[in-house]
Structures are given as structure tokens and as C-alpha cells.
Symmetry: C2
Subunit: 416 residues, 2 copies
């Protein structure tokens, strides 16, 4: 699709994308709802205000996307087409409007903000490769995959307050205890990332005491982002029995700013492997799917170039995003538009497709070799991590970009 | 303290209480901030509007208490004294005001609402008796208390969307698997309650990457409620390894409507037992405290009278509410006013002071005997559960009341 807005060759933001976020345009004190085409930001709040973007009831007169996300898939689809049409090279309505300059902004003129008020964040564990690899390290091959793993999408509630767009990570401190050793209070020495996809819940959601049916779950998912579930592995190992990870995960979770809708992802939908054993009926999805999204992780250590250290893919997930959502509500948990569901670390079947350093370095036993003789087991201060997702369409690429994160040194005070 | 408002003998709401909640007064569409004296509701939003309650900046012009809770302990204390003074029998300002009738309402004229927008809910596990008793049942005496239990307040992130004031509980359905048996999809047959205290975070909280210091934690706790962490034990046993409880807990969490402040609880502060081993410095509280609050659980089964089945006490906690809050932030998790922290099931040292049926019935092996030959292992449909907290002051009692909950039958559909 041709737009009157210039779209650089290979841009992650063709007209086929139309992702959503929010931000302050030209220093405005209220965040506006936005989309992006090429390297140009389009101010949807403004376009709706001046009536160029026509909506039955106001959808973008808010500082977050929650109101828009609580609408139906039909509304999302009609708004998407309206925006695409407004930006087409053969449409003059915006192109020749006196408001065009105010409706558009360069990247530098916009300060992106957290696009969603996240009521609850849940992290799943839905990549078989990851679960098996980690299970082997912590519990040996026999107990690697718990018997419940292939029966339900295992997940745990995460912390929503520390979900941020991009951001640098401050090395945490906490209690650690080497196996058979004595616990101590220490800076985290096994700081790791976890490559995940985040799904944002939307549409008309279930009341408390009700469940979402597998046949309806697709329309309760608005879109996706890249998600990095920063993990303090040494702190996690000491705290997680019996109630699961807690402080090892709640210090920070980073997401990409632009939410890519399931509409944009439609051309990249791929079937998932048939599941064995066949799950219980409430989880049986006749259209078991994921998306073919190449997920590339880059690590830049000081004095070294940015290095691609892993290429995974969303298609490597075992459980689908609809199965995760359905299982989340099985006992009657009410979902809300804006809830965030993490897929769990996505690892592929090969050594160059693993989703975290815990797996890549075998919990520190097999350092990752980097150019110029450098190596890493986990992240050091000063390291820079970047994650990118790519959907290769014919003649266009839809991309997701998690802003680069620098590892900052731990706070130093009287405790350590 | 004498009030011009009639306070029935033994009322849980003397002038020494001044708890806070929100609700719709006489059918108003906006919830107001409220307090309660005897059986009379006092409309704080209205009193502030008409200037009888004097505030530097508006604190009660909102439908929840979050704005007020984000202020400092000094502000909370000055507002508390202002309210108490306004309601004293020897103060004419409100007593003779033309606005008095509009400022006061009977219980029937007010429909209470969820008083706090809860950003995150976290559930701890801080009663040694409970943790040991449950540990023995699930993992045998040797592994009952994990080695980490006495080193840190173990906790896990819960679900905030299903935290409600009171409410009836719909029996959940989900996956269960008897030990060594085959998993199945079933209605929950081990529906349980968990007697807890909920603490609401307030004041100026820590930014992401920072921690709350033990010396400051007291002023980041606004007040407490009773909390019932409804638990589906059979579903929990099959899902919790390795990432902790999830659907077994997220279907519902009930809290009492009136938040009792730490000011009101001051006369009931009691020291906690010295901890052994001595915790790490970041958790060492020179003023290790809890509160002497008798916690009574009543069970009314059909055709039977309401029966007291347990009397526990907040003083039985091992970890203090300040230690829980500090540990929650140790790796840099940012807290927000309105966050809710559950204490974990509070069990005493005796059989009549246990905090859940799992312990009382030894996971179903030893039914609880009730009048008229009735008995229970877990909750049946139609059972009614009520929890009450009492602080016996000299000449007054401060109480907390979790509205009675009826167990409703599970949804029936094509799945079960
Ligand atoms: Ca994760
Ligand atoms: Ca609990
Ligand atoms: Mg995280
Ligand atoms: Mg609960
Ligand atoms: Ni007047």
C-alpha cells in the first residue's frame, strides 16, 4: 500500500502495520493516542478531535489505549481501515488538510509513554524447549517437564507496576544461596533477560465467576508487543520454592512501545504442532495457531560490536495465546482490557535459538563466545541488550523493536 | 470519646476507629469517600466540598481512597483528628450545621463500593504455624518449612482484578489430579477459605530500582482489612509446581469494606517473638511488631446455627507487615499507594486457632465436627462463611467485618 507519508525502504512501519501507542507530541502535557508510519508519528487523538478520524463515540480522547482496547474487534478493524485510507497516497482528506502538519510529527518530536494502564500482568511458561532446558538444569531430566506442563499452560501472576516501555535495568540485590551453601545478601550475579511476546487483552471480557470460551478468545486479544522478563537467576533459585518466582522477577519487565494488532499479524499466522496429549476440551482450539515472527536478540558488550546472539520465533510456542487466555479464566478469574499476558521465554530447538542466557550459558557452565575473545555467562554492567521482531511479508516487513537496554550497576548502600 | 452520633453499646465503630471506605450515598451515581461511626455513615467527600472538613488540597473529591492514601502519615493523622473533633458531642460545627442531614446517612442508604483501585495484590505466607502445617501435608515434616522460610517473608504475586468487597463465591472448576492418579477436568471438591489480614500501601512510595528501608516502611502502610484468599485446594495441588498457585487462587479474594488505619490500631500494637535466625540487616526491625486482633471465623451450614470454628490472632504472624513490604521491594520493585499485601493464612498454635479448612480437616482426613452431627472437610454449596476481627480497647472495641459469603454452585456447561 502506498502512503503520501514517506516510508523508507525496509521500514518496520508500512501501512500494513498501523501499530498503536501513546506519547507526548511536541511537549504537550497530555499523552495522545498515536500510530506510526515509516518514521512519522500520526496523532490519532488530534485526528479524532478535528473529525478527520470519524468515530461513533470518542475512542482516543484518553491518555492510554485502554478505552479503545475495550471496544470490539469490528471497531478495531474499521478504525484500522479508516487510518490506512487516510494515509494512502490517493486520498486527499488528510494529505491536503490544513491540519496535516499538526496531525503528523517526527520521531524526535514525540516522547512515548506507557500506552496501557495494565490492571494485571501474568507470565506464562509456554515454550517446551525453554521449560525442558531449564527443568533439566534445576530438577534433572526426569523432573524437567512437570507432568502438568503438557496438560495446561502453566503461568504465574507477575507485577504490573514495574512493566515499562524499554528502559535501562538496574542490577538488583537480594538473597542468594548456592546449593548446599549458606544464604547471603548480595548483588545479583546472574542477571538474565527472557525473550517473550506480550499479549494485550481487549474487547468485552468475562465477569468474575465466568470463563472465556476457546471459541471467543481470539476476539479478547487486541495485539502484541515484545516483552523482556528481566530475571535475577541466583535470587530466583533461592526464593521460588514453594510459591514461585517473586522478587527475582518483579524489579522490571520491559515491553516494546508499539502494539501490533492481530489484524496486522494475520498474514503471518501459522498452525501450531498438534498437542500430545490432546488437552482437555476447554483448551481444544480447532484453529491452533501462533505467528511466524523472527525474534532476534542482540548483545553489545563494552568495546565490542552489537552481536546477534539468538534467533528464535513465536511459532516455537507449544501453547497458543488463546489457550493461555482461556486457561487463565478457567476458575472464574475476570480479565480486563489492558491486562498483559507474557508468553514465557521462547526458545527454539537449536542452540542459536534460545531465549535467555540461563539456557545459552547452561546456568554459567558454558560461556557464550563473543567477538574479540569476549564471553558472557550472564549480563555484566554496561552490557546493552536489544530485541527485535520481524514478520517478512511480500513487499513489506512488520517489525517490533524493544528499545536497547543498558545494564546499570547495583545501588550501593549500608546493606551491600 | 463521646459523639453526638448515637453509638450502640459494643459497636465496632466507636470514635476511636474512624475507618475509611467508599460508597454511593442515597443512590448517587458517584461513589463518595466515607467513614463510619456506630451505624451511621459520614460523607467525607460532601463535608470537604462544603468546607466543614478543611483540607489544603482536595483529598476526597475522588471515587476511591487512592488520592488520600498517597498522602503522608501526618496528613492522615490530622484528617483523623479533624473528623473525630467534628463528631464529638461537645462540637457544634457539624452537629448544628444545616448540612448535617446530608452529611450523615444510615447503613441502608449507602451502597458500599470497592474503596481502592488496587494496582497490584501480593499474597505472603507469613504464619509459621500455617506454613508448617501445610508443608507437612504436602511435603512431609522434613520439607515442611523450606530453608528459605525463616530467611525471608515468602510471597507471590496475586490477581488484583478479582479482589472484591465481600461477595458470594461461585464454586470454581478446573484441572485436578489425585497423587499418582490421572488428571481430569472437574468442579472443585476442596473449596477452602484462608483467613488473612490485608495491608494497604500508602504514602510516598519507592521508584523502580529503589527499595523501601525498614526504618521508613511503617509510614508506607495506610491501614488494614480482613482478607479471605479463597483457595481451590485440589486445583492448587496439580498446578503449583514449579511456578506457584495461579488459577487455584485468582478466582476471588474477598476483603472487608472498612479500612482500619494504623492510628486506630496503635493501642493494640504488640511485639513479635524475636526471630531465629536473625534476619539479614535489610529486614532487621528494631520495633518488630504486629497487632493483637482476635480473628474469628464462623461457618453456617444449611439447617444449622452459625458456629464459631476458629479463633486466631494477627499476633501469630512470624514476619511483620513492615518486613513484608521491605522484602517486596528488595530488588527494586516499585510499590504504589493502593497496593494490597495479604499476610498469608494466619494460624495459631492450637487446633481451634487454625486459619483454613485444609489445616482444620487435615486435607479432608479429619472432618470438622459441627452441631447436630453435621461435619465438613471443605466448603459445601450453601455454606455461609463470616470472618470478624476484634480489638478490645478499654471501654471500646474496634472491629473488622468481612461480609458473610455464601458458597454458590459451580457453573454447569458442556465442559463439566
Ligand atoms: Ca518469564
Ligand atoms: Ca493466601
Ligand atoms: Mg518481569
Ligand atoms: Mg485470592
Ligand atoms: Ni452552607
Amino acid at each position: 500500500m502506498e502512503s503520501f507519508i514517506e516510508i523508507p525502504e525496509g521500514s518496520y512501519y508500512p501501512l500494513e502495520n498501523i501499530p498503536y501507542s501513546t506519547g507526548h507530541v511536541r511537549g504537550g502535557d497530555q499523552a495522545h493516542c498515536l500510530t506510526r508510519v515509516g518514521n512519522t508519528i500520526v496523532d490519532l487523538t488530534f485526528l479524532e478531535q478535528i473529525g478527520i478520524l470519524k468515530t461513533e463515540k470518542a475512542l482516543f480522547n484518553t491518555q492510554t489505549l485502554n478505552k479503545f482496547m475495550s471496544e470490539s474487534r469490528e471497531i478495531w478493524q474499521s478504525i484500522r481501515s479508516q487510518i490506512q485510507n487516510l494515509l494512502r497516497s490517493d486520498n486527499q482528506e488528510l494529505q491536503s488538510s490544513e491540519h496535516k502538519t499538526q496531525a503528523l510529527a517526527s520521531l524526535e518530536e514525540v516522547q512515548l509513554s506507557m500506552p496501557v494502564n495494565i490492571g494485571d500482568y501474568t507470565d506464562f511458561y509456554s515454550s517446551k524447549n525453554h521449560a525442558y532446558n531449564v527443568g533439566v538444569m534445576f530438577r534433572g531430566p526426569e523432573n524437567a517437564l512437570q507432568p502438568n506442563w503438557t496438560r495446561m499452560p502453566i503461568g504465574y501472576h507477575g507485577r504490573s507496576s514495574s512493566v515499562v516501555v524499554g528502559g535501562n535495568v538496574i542490577r538488583p540485590r537480594g538473597q542468594v544461596c548456592p546449593p548446599g551453601g549458606e544464604p547471603s545478601f548480595s548483588i545479583c550475579k546472574k542477571l538474565d533477560y527472557e525473550l517473550e511476546i506480550g499479549c494485550f487483552v481487549g474487547g468485552k471480557t468475562n465477569d468474575m465467576g465466568k470463563s472465556i470460551d476457546i471459541a471467543d478468545a481470539y476476539n479478547n486479544i487486541f495485539g502484541i508487543v515484545l516483552l523482556n522478563d528481566w530475571s535475577a537467576r541466583d535470587i530466583q533459585a533461592w526464593e521460588y520454592i514453594p510459591l514461585g518466582p517473586f522478587t527475582a522477577k518483579n524489579f522490571m519487565t520491559s515491553i516494546s512501545p508499539w502494539i501490533v494488532t492481530l489484524e496486522a499479524l494475520a498474514p503471518f499466522k501459522v498452525p501450531l504442532e498438534p498437542q500430545n496429549p490432546v488437552p482437555f476440551p476447554y483448551l481444544q482450539d480447532p484453529d491452533l495457531f501462533s505467528y511466524d515472527i523472527a525474534l532476534k536478540t542482540f548483545l553489545k558488550v563494552p568495546e565490542n560490536d552489537n552481536t546477534l546472539i539468538s534467533t528464535s520465533n513465536m511459532k516455537y510456542l507449544y501453547w497458543s495465546i488463546t489457550q493461555q487466555l482461556v486457561h487463565h479464566t478457567v476458575t472464574g478469574c475476570n480479565m480486563r482490557p489492558g491486562d498483559l499476558l507474557g508468553s514465557g521465554t521462547i526458545s527454539g530447538p537449536t542452540e542459536d535459538s534460545l531465549g535467555c542466557l540461563l539456557e545459552i550459558s547452561l546456568n554459567g557452565k558454558k560461556p557464550l563466545q563473543l567477538p574479540n575473545g569476549q564471553q558472557r555467562t550472564f549480563l555484566n554492567d554496561g552490557d546493552v541488550l536489544t530485541i527485535v521482531g520481524e514478520c517478512k511479508g511480500n513487499g513489506f516487513t512488520i517489525g517490533l523493536e524493544l528499545p536497547s537496554a543498558v545494564v546499570l550497576p547495583a545501588v550501593q548502600d549500608k546493606y551491600v
